[in-house]
Amino acid sequence: MPIVTASKTQVSYDVIVVGSGAGGGQTAYTLAMEGVKVLMVEAGRNYDPVRETPMFQTNDQAPLRGAGTPDKVSGFFDATVDGGWQVPGEPYTNASSEPSRQFSWWRARMLGGRTNHWGRISLRNGPYDFKSYSRDGLGFDWPISYEDVAPYYEKVEMLVGVYGSNEGLENTPDSAPGVLLPPPRARAGELLAQQRAKKLGLPVIPIHRAVLSVTQDAATIPAKLHPGNPAAQRILAQAMRERAACFWATSCGRGCSIRANYQSTTVHLPPALATGNLDILPDAMVREVTLDENGRATGVLCIDKVTGEERRLQARVVVLAASSAESVRILLNSRSVRFPNGVANSSGLVGKYIMDTVGARLGGQVPLLENLPVYNEDGAGGNHVYVPWWLYQEQKAGRLDFARGYHIEFQTGRGMPGLGAATAVAGLTHGAYGQRFKEEARRYYGSFVSFAGRGEMIPNADSFCELDPTVKDRWGIPVLRFHWKWSDHETRQAAHMQRTFADLITAMGGKPDPLAADGARAIEAGGRIIHEVGGTIMGSDPKKSVTNPWCQTWDVRNLFVTDGGPFVSNADKNPTLTIMALAWRASDYLIGEMKKGNI
């Protein structure tokens, strides 16, 4: 079964999966490999990274030298299709006009969603991250523990391929031996930071990213992932052989035509399609979940974006993985006499406790890196090293003025020049131009470093989304209205990030850029890190959560949410790997329930 049009869908499916990114891709993969008949519904267009990725194009081949514009916010070559902070004709609103209370929502309208352009950073949540309330009395505990998720982290890492190392650090889990692929060597600037960070007590270690540093072991992994299922093993082995190892060039944000990094469209969907158990319906905007008179989900109502017609699609089970906020929107728009406030919302918590990641950044110039002997620093198209949160003990002892941790991502080296490649030269040289400008540009290129903090946000009652009472999108569907507020924990953490980065740049012999006046100015606006989670939080009490520990809604047994929505907290670890692990776990549970006849 293949990519289909609305008129070619089957009469009914076992499962409809709404969304095709990390959560939807993993759900469809797990179900299809186990013989479940799946229809995946995607609001964006079909997308083929093998054919469409601009691998070696240089910026002078793009309009405006590849610079970002309102049409392509992250630059011309960024993989995002029909998306960014705004999607034409599909608005969202903010309740407040105050700058500090804005939420920005990044969406993509394409098969594979945001997995096509993401940073591929794949960190596991640690044991503390599932029990945060028990540790410091803030936020919530998850109804599950690290031990419940660990086997699924293992499976996902083996399936998608993640490079990294096991360092045995606090709340920074090791993978089982042989699971991780070898990490690439550090770049010059990363090594300098590593050496100088030591005296500050910052551990600089290999980061984990979903990039194949070597080809996958197609001979043994499939049997580990699909024991007793020779057909699935055969299909996965073939899919793994069709992925090449990284060739150490080009930015991952463009996507990858040789399938060396993880994106749903190159890793989850090809084997799932090869089973014959998956149909994919692109260009279909889901408006609501449909229900029968007993309150069971019967499928979804969607708008065929090609013809503008409404379509009803039927299945035994509906899984929402449309991105946490989009899934909230679908639930809230599924109103009926039985569910006047939207489906699965008897707790009143659908849309509540949305979270992003705390982000702050600081750059600087490092004289030691000037005139560095030239070598190719492209590497794996992203970070090779990072600093995991290192102050657990200080925090526990009450020596910090914020509650949760952050990790540090690096930007160093001589990346492919963009429009800003030499803009700092004028200031550093008091206005050089001409021959001297060219000499100074050679000297300074690659001598700039930048560090980005990615920290945990504690869920709060002031950060939520709801349906806007008046605004509708071009399909007539009510849109989301966001409410946002950082607490002092987040803004103080952002200030701490900048101070740490200034210390690190100084330790490298460099000159840090000026720090923001305070944390509220250092912190990036809500949503800007694109780690949108929460809104359908899981729990063990139906009154205090939307889904149970299996991502199954309490109110409707055959309705699941497998994107970031069920996240109860948002650890500093980037959420994608955990979304996939939870989606796989939920899908295993769903298959078991279907087999038992419970669904």
Binding site: A62, P63, T69, P70, C246, W248, V471
Partner: protein
């Protein structure tokens, strides 16, 4: 009919520029309130949210260019004062930088619409100043004379009161020129970028690079 349609290219008046700017800036804010995906404000459109990323583009492919022959001469001369030919690489104009700047200031996006006014007025100022000082257009001056003008405006924080606006223009123009230059294969090679080449392994820093950092 839109009154701006009748304006000759390159002679975009301030009112029209502001109107474009407002229209483009409003797109972001207004999208929230537009009913049912009403069309955004009229004017030249950009490349859209789903352009083909794999084909090479050239200035003029998406929106009409602006420079008159006279503006182009000044723009080219100034590019080459900023990035002249040397033993390592050619001048900016040899790798199409003036075409890129024309493309940039002709684009319908807010940043570029702002730069359009800055650049067109700045180029006109350069010529006026050249005529005032030397009785000839900027492009017709020899390099030492061109540089006497540029020296007065090359560093905004130290520029005299009479040169503040021109210095702001020069700074922006230098950014566009250097950005346009170093994004070409010639410019990338000049500045020391040797990537974008597939290799079987990532070797890491060379011994020379490690030695340079005291890490060998």
């Amino acid at each position: 009919m839109n009154p701006s349609d009748s304006l000759p290219p390159g002679r975009l008046d301030r009112r029209t520029a502001i109107k474009w700017m407002m229209a483009a800036a409003a797109t972001v804010a207004l999208v929230d309130r537009l009913p049912l995906g009403a069309a955004p404000a009229a004017g030249p459109t950009g490349y859209g949210t789903d352009p083909d990323l794999t084909k090479p583009y050239h200035p003029g492919d998406y929106w009409p260019l602006t420079f008159t022959a006279e503006q182009r001469r000044t723009a080219t001369a100034l590019c080459d004062v900023i990035i002249p030919a040397d033993a390592t690489s050619p001048a900016a104009s040899a790798v199409g930088v003036p075409d890129f700047i024309d493309e940039w200031i002709s684009a319908p996006y807010p940043t570029q619409v702002r730069d359009r006014a800055v650049v067109l007025e700045g180029l006109a100022w350069m010529d006026d100043e050249a005529r005032k000082r030397f009785g000839r257009s900027f492009a017709d001056l020899d390099v030492p004379r061109q540089r006497t003008i540029c020296d007065d405006i090359c560093y905004a924080p130290e520029a005299g009161a009479a040169f503040k606006t021109a210095a702001a223009f020069f700074n922006r123009y230098r950014d566009l020129t250097s950005g346009g230059f170093y994004t070409t294969p010639v410019g990338m090679k000049d500045i020391g970028y040797v990537g974008n080449m597939p290799t079987p392994t990532f070797a890491g820093p060379t011994p020379e690079a490690l030695k340079h950092l005291g890490l060998a």
